[in-house]
Amino acid sequence: MTSPGAHIERDDRADAVIARLHGDIDSSNAAELLLPLAAEAAGRPLILALDDVQYIDSAGMAAIETLRRSSELRMVVPRESVVRHALEIVGFDQLIPVFECLEDMPA
């Protein structure tokens, strides 16, 4: 299976910004894709949906870490996925609320 170029779909709601990422997140695109979200959230909670992300590396996690400092952050990451496994190893699941799917998330 090939992975398409990474990109973000945004759902700009009044109460939150939902950013759905697609593709691989690595040092070639992590900062460029993720960091502008802090400004877009403008104080609103930021929900990162990583359910269509095939790969994330430590550069991607560093960008998420940066976002966490400026925004109220939640993530959607399915269990048994590569990304979930990677986030668990570095302990992000302890720092940031992680949900199985958007629907599970409290409003």
Partner: protein
């Protein structure tokens, strides 16, 4: 749309995918807009040609119709460069506008019915990459018949083969060869530069202009020494500063290049220099020049700079840079040779100057001697004549001895004076009319009584040659010297003196039946101070200037001299001088007064040799109770004199030769021998040898007497076992005192025996120290070995070796001790040479210092007490270590942690150790210097820097453990520009700096030779030729393999080198044994040789190595080859670095006697249990790289979760590798290798970048990820880069 050309048929017929770009391009082209018209109306001939064209993999171009409209195939696209796809359908005069004048006649001829045209390596200056480029092609243009065309010919088919790479590489090899050959004899650095510039001027294609600057002694400025084509603003002799503010205003960045020790390119020449630089053979001038340091044998101190103009027609690529570096290396070698020659010449000039000063000194001195001698001789003569007052015979004898020796001295002084006059050019011939026969007869007759006394017959055959014009002052010494010489070396038989007149010449010959002269010495007897090595003459007295003087005098008078001689049978000296017959009355018919004195002096001297030579019966009281002295001297006066001096106190026995003395001593053992050193036959030194070799005489004391002063002579005698030494002249009381002392010493026999024992112990100790120091290859090792010895022998606790640094006024220190407190020495590893440390003082003053306890000499060395305390020491001895010249170069300090009394024994022991340590320290120091130079060169030999992503290359080298000097192993990997990569391993004969220099040049030469050739054998042939110009290159062995990933094939050739090892992607191991031939330069050429070929699909592995890997002593080579094959078979799938580690562990773990080099190359791609990948170090490359890995993992059959773990961990490692490597250079490559072995997966991710210390964002997290996902993470950093190896064991059971 239909397919009017049948292109799809052609494509399917040859089995190629139908999406070849040119097929589509031709099919989709707007042909109606061209003179060819719509494609469906093309003639059958054109259609057939286009199909043929497209199906062909060779570059083909078709010019159709009278306009020569261009059609071409895919293989031709690289030739067009940027002109593709525009050129399709263009008339050739547009497509190739820049070379149309050249092409037109070549195309017209076949098109108009003429023969096909063809040209080899034609030069075409084309613009296909944005600049006008030098290219070379082999072309063949053939007519294509077409019935429908008016002339029966539809167009012209061009078959082209680009040969640019080969032509340029050949040309560069010949430049280097020319440089190597022509620059051999340069005598000065300037001349070396001039020759190099002249050579480069002839080959201006690659270097349109050349400037060669030489750096001055202070490294303050560089002067333009030679140029081929002067750039504007650059004048001959121009001096450019290398430091200070002005350095930045220079046209060239010399100072920066010197600092960086690396070449630098300079662009925008016209602007920079304010004018056009010389263009060489090209129409436009270069815009770029490269400034390259010319290396010297000192780091950071280049001999000069090479400024090379870069051809505007070529890209400045890697092979261009390699070529320039080789040119610079060639110039550097030639300058280094010339500098050595200059230094040699300076030394010779200095020697000549000293020689001149000596001549003047001798001339003055000899002259001053004559006056007092005359005043001495006259009264003695009168006293002897006037015998009345000399009633006492012994008184008369004393005066007689004084007189005859005074005459002898006068003779020597005369000879010396004659000689120095000749030498100083102060002699001009002054011929006078002389009765030459009478004069000669007179001169010879003065020897008559000496001949009678010796029992030698003197025969004269003097022709009446009449009155002759001859210089009497020349003739006299010639005759006297030759006759006295003949008597001296003739022990029996006769001497015949003959004089003959011949027109304007006279010929004098003196023939003897003496000892003769050996053949190899006959040419040298006329050299100054030459003394035959095997003299068995009457006396060893003499100065070695007699014959030289004769020869010089004869030559000055326009004559000649020769000698014919047979060893043991006699010699004939023949002198011919111009002496015109004269009719005028002689001014003087007899010899002058001075000449009378001269001949009497000669005669008196000769008389003395033949006085009774035998041992005289002892005239003195033969009192057995008195000690016996045996006197040995070949001079009878001396014997008599010694007898009279010693006879009053001891029994004296006399001997006139060494043999006689030995016989006398064996017959009746004397108590002491007093012997002259220089005697014919057994001389004084040999006499000592014989005495010491004789059990009965072994401990007999020997006193040497010699006229030769100087430490060497003393050492000679004493080293051979003489007990004492006295230089003539000596006083009577001194001689008596020495003999007395020797006798007393010999009386103390018992104590002497004891001392001999002590001496043996000392000798053993010294031998132990020498043995301990022998393997020390650097100064620290010398200090360590010296410490081991002083601790055991003297109970010392610390050793410090302080050595003067070469370029700075500092001493570098090496500490060795049982426990050296690190803080105490930290600040003391370098101290100022002018400072007040005891070692600095010892080095300056050259005398040892002794501190018996820490309070000693506290006033003179205020800092010492504190230093000793810090080191835990109480006593310290500091000794100078000296060069052979006596100059101190280092200081050895020995310390004790208790007070020590330095009694004479202890001091002597230390002083003996000093000279042994000095020799080792000198050796260690010079080895260190050589090693650092060699290591620098060596590291360049063993670096591989390819940027190909089609292969992964990994090299490993291990030096021999037999010593410090490095071998001539080298390897290289060179990209050939078309996807192919050449890999070579070579081994130069010999070791050390010379071998490494040769290897550097051969490696560069091969890098050039391999470009543009299709067969590796051709490259070896080019290298054979280059070998002739590279000293030491003969018999170098090379293995060369060219890997073509496109064709999945390797071609190879070995010049005397063991065969490469090939491993297929499924693990099958074979040696590549075709195409083996002789080493470089050694065989009859390689014209018949062909390269071997083997398939090399993705995942294949090739190993090249030097024989050190497989050779073991006492073992056939086949055993080593088998061992290597076995080691590889068990590890072939591992990442290359691990594979090489495993092979080395198996084959050279116990060390090798030779250097070992191994290069492994794997073709990138995937096999079932193997994944090998390589890509450029750009961040955007990591996603495709992960995708390739993911695809392989997906096929691996591993559970999905394990595949994810591998992907995450390897992905992290890739990301890190890209960050390291791209920091240095984004064209660098990253390699990823994975091997699967059952439940274990090993992954290696490598880069050639440099680790950047300090935290990187996310790096800690990356490492955390890798550690959590892999069971083992190994990060290996070295100069070559970083390799991360991840091991995933039981990947199906990853932690939850």
């Amino acid at each position: 749309m239909s397919d009017p050309l049948g292109a799809a048929d052609a494509a399917s017929a040859r089995g190629y995918p139908a999406d070849g770009e040119m097929e589509g391009a031709i099919a989709g082209f707007d042909w109606p807009a061209t003179p060819l018209g719509p494609a469906d109306r093309w003639s059958p001939a054109l259609r057939m040609m286009v199909r043929m064209l497209l199906a062909n993999r060779f570059p083909l171009l078709l010019w159709w119709g009278p306009e020569y409209v261009c059609l071409y195939n895919d293989a031709y696209r690289p030739v067009l460069g940027d002109k593709h796809p525009w050129a399709l359908g263009q008339p050739v005069r547009e497509a190739w506008r820049e070379i149309w004048p050249v092409l037109k006649p070549l195309i017209d001829t076949p098109f108009r019915g003429g023969p096909a045209t063809w040209d080899d390596d034609i030069l075409l200056e084309i613009n296909r990459h944005g600049f006008v480029e030098e290219t070379h092609f082999t072309i063949a243009y053939s007519p294509v018949p077409d019935e429908t065309a008016p002339g029966g010919i539809g167009g012209v088919l061009a078959t082209v083969h680009e040969t640019t790479g080969k032509v340029v590489a050949d040309r560069r090899v010949s430049v280097l060869r020319d440089l190597g050959t022509r620059s051999v004899g340069a005598k000065t650095a300037e001349e070396a530069c001039l020759v190099a510039a002249k050579t480069l001027a002839v080959h201006a294609e690659d270097i349109p202009f050349t400037l060669l600057y030489l750096v001055d002694r202070d490294r303050k400025a560089a002067r333009l020494a030679a140029a081929a084509g002067l750039a504007p603003g650059v004048e001959p002799g121009q001096v450019l500063p290398l430091d200070g503010a002005e350095a930045s205003d220079c046209p060239w960045p010399l100072a920066e290049v010197m600092r960086a020790e690396a070449p630098q390119a300079v662009t925008g020449l016209a602007t920079r220099l304010g004018g056009q630089v010389p263009a060489g053979p090209w129409a436009d001038p270069p815009d770029t020049a490269v400034v390259i340091p010319i290396a010297s044998n000192r780091a950071g101190f280049p001999a000069g700079f090479l400024v090379a103009g870069i051809s505007p027609r070529l890209a400045l690529d890697g092979s261009y840079t390699d070529f320039l570096n080789l040119v610079s290396a060639q110039v550097a070698a030639s300058i280094a040779n010339a500098r050595e020659h200059e230094q040699e010449k300076e030394r010779m000039d200095a020697l000549a100057e000293i020689d001149q000063a000596k001549t003047t000194f001798f001339a003055n001195l000899s002259h001053e001697f004559r006056t007092p001698l005359t005043l001495l001789l006259s009264p003695l003569e009168e006293a002897l004549k006037d015998g009345a007052d000399l009633s006492d015979p012994s008184q008369r004898e004393r005066i007689g001895t004084a007189h005859s020796n005074g005459l002898r001295l006068l003779k020597l002084v005369n000879s010396l004076l004659d000689f120095t006059r000749v030498d100083a050019g102060g002699v001009t011939p002054a011929p006078r009319t002389t009765d030459l026969a009478a004069l000669t007869d007179d001169l010879v007759s003065v020897f008559q009584s000496a001949f009678d006394g010796a029992g030698i017959e003197l025969v004269t055959a003097i022709d009446p040659v009449g009155m002759r014009d001859v210089d009497v002052d020349m003739w006299e010494p010639v005759v006297l010297n030759l006759v006295s010489n003949a008597l001296k070396y003739t022990l029996r038989g006769s001497v015949r003196v003959a004089l003959r007149g011949r027109d304007d010449d006279v010929e004098l010959s003196v023939a003897d039946t003496g000892i003769g002269i050996a053949g190899d010495e006959q040419d040298r007897v006329f050299e100054r101070f030459f003394r035959s090595s095997n003299e068995a003459g009457r006396s060893f007295e003499g100065s070695g200037i007699g014959l030289a003087l004769v020869s010089e005098l004869v030559r000055l008078h326009g004559g000649s001299i020769g000698v014919q001689s047979t060893l043991g049978a006699g010699s004939t000296f023949t002198v011919t001088v111009p002496a015109r017959p004269s009719t005028s009355v002689p001014a003087q018919t007899v010899a002058s007064r001075s000449s009378t004195a001269r001949s009497r002096a000669f005669a008196a001297d000769a008389q003395r040799w033949i006085d009774d030579g035998a041992a005289s019966p002892d005239p003195g009281r033969d009192d057995a109770s008195r000690a016996a002295v045996l006197v040995v001297d070949d001079n009878s006066d001396m014997r008599r004199y010694l007898h009279s001096l010693l006879g009053t106190e001891w029994r004296v026995k006399l001997a006139s030769t060494g043999a006689e003395a030995l016989e006398a001593a064996r017959r009746d053992r004397p108590d002491v021998i007093v012997s002259d050193v220089m005697m014919p036959g057994i001389d004084g030194l040999h006499l000592v040898d014989r005495v010491r070799a004789d059990a009965a005489l072994r401990d007999l004391p020997v006193l040497h007497l010699s006229g030769r002063a100087g430490p060497e002579a003393t050492v000679d005698g004493l080293a051979r076992g003489a007990n004492d030494y006295l230089v003539k002249p000596f006083s009577a009381s001194e001689l008596r005192a020495r003999v007395r002392a020797l006798l007393q010493a010999s009386e103390r026999a018992a104590r002497e025996a004891q001392e001999a024992l002590a001496g043996r112990r000392r000798a053993e100790e010294a031998a132990e120290l020498s043995a301990a120091l022998h393997p020390a290859r650097n100064l620290q090792a010398v200090a360590d070995a010296a410490f081991g010895w002083v601790r055991r022998i003297l109970g010392a606790h610390l050793v410090t070796l302080s050595v003067a640094e070469h370029d700075e006024p500092m001493l570098r220190r090496y500490f060795a001790g049982a426990s050296v407190p690190v803080p105490a020495i930290a600040g003391n590893l370098r101290v100022p040479a002018a400072g007040d440390a005891p070692s600095a003082r010892v080095l300056r003053e050259g005398t040892a210092l002794w501190f018996e306890d820490s309070g000693a000499q506290a006033t003179e060395f205020p800092a010492l007490a504190g230093d000793l305390k810090a080191l835990g020491l109480e006593a310290l001895a500091v000794l100078p270590l000296r060069l052979a010249s006596g100059l101190p170069f280092a200081a050895l300090a020995v310390g004790w942690s208790r007070p020590v009394h330095f009694d004479p024994d202890l001091r002597a022991t230390l002083e003996r150790a000093e000279s042994i340590v000095a020799a080792a320290a000198q050796r260690g120091q010079s080895l260190e210097v050589e090693q650092s130079a060699t290591r620098r060169l060596e590291s360049s030999l063993l670096a591989i820097d390819t940027r190909t992503t089609r292969l992964v290359v990994q090299a490993r080298h291990q030096g021999a453990d037999t010593g410090a000097s490095v071998g001539g192993d080298w390897y290289d990997a060179v990209e050939l520009g078309d996807g192919r990569v050449a890999v070579a391993v070579g081994d130069v004969v010999g070791r050390g700096l010379g071998a490494v220099r040769t290897a550097v040049r051969l490696r560069g030469g091969l890098g050039l030779a391999v470009l543009g050739v299709t067969d590796p054998t051709e490259a070896l042939t080019a290298l054979d030729r280059y070998t002739a110009a590279v000293p030491g290159a003969y018999c170098t062995t090379v293995a060369l393999a060219v890997i073509d990933p496109d064709r999945a094939e390797v071609s190879y050739a070995c010049a005397g080198h063991p065969p490469p090892l090939l491993v297929s992607p499924s693990g099958q191991v074979t040696y590549l044994e075709e195409s083996r031939s002789w080493p470089l330069g050694a065989g009859p050429g390689r014209s018949g040789a062909r390269a071997g070929r083997a398939p090399f699909p993705p995942g294949s592995l090739l190993l090249l190595y030097t024989d050190g890997l497989i050779e073991r002593r006492r073992e056939p080579l086949t055993a080593g080859l088998r061992r290597l094959a076995e080691a590889v078979a068990g590890n072939w799938d591992l990442p290359l670095r691990r594979l090489e580690q495993a092979v080395f562990t198996r084959l050279v773990s116990d060390g090798s006697e030779d250097d070992v080099a191994l290069v492994a190359v794997r073709s990138t791609g995937a096999a079932p249990d193997l994944f090998c990948d390589s890509f450029h170090a750009r961040r955007e490359e990591q996603r495709p790289a992960r995708q390739r890995l993911r695809a392989w993992l997906d096929d691996s059959g591993l559970p999905a979760a394990d595949r994810d773990a591998v992907l995450l961990a390897v992905g992290e490692a890739i990301s890190n590798a890209i960050d390291h490597a791209s920091g240095a250079d984004p064209t660098q490559i990253v390699t990823v290798e994975l091997a699967r072995r059952g439940p274990t997966l090993i992954a290696s991710i490598g880069d050639r970048g440099h680790w950047r210390p300090g935290p990187q964002p996310g790096r800690g997290r990356g490492h955390l990820l890798m550690s959590a996902l892999a069971q083992d993470v190994d990060i290996n950093l070295d100069q070559g880069g970083t390799v991360v190896t991840l091991t995933f064991t039981h990947p199906e059971r990853r932690p939850a």
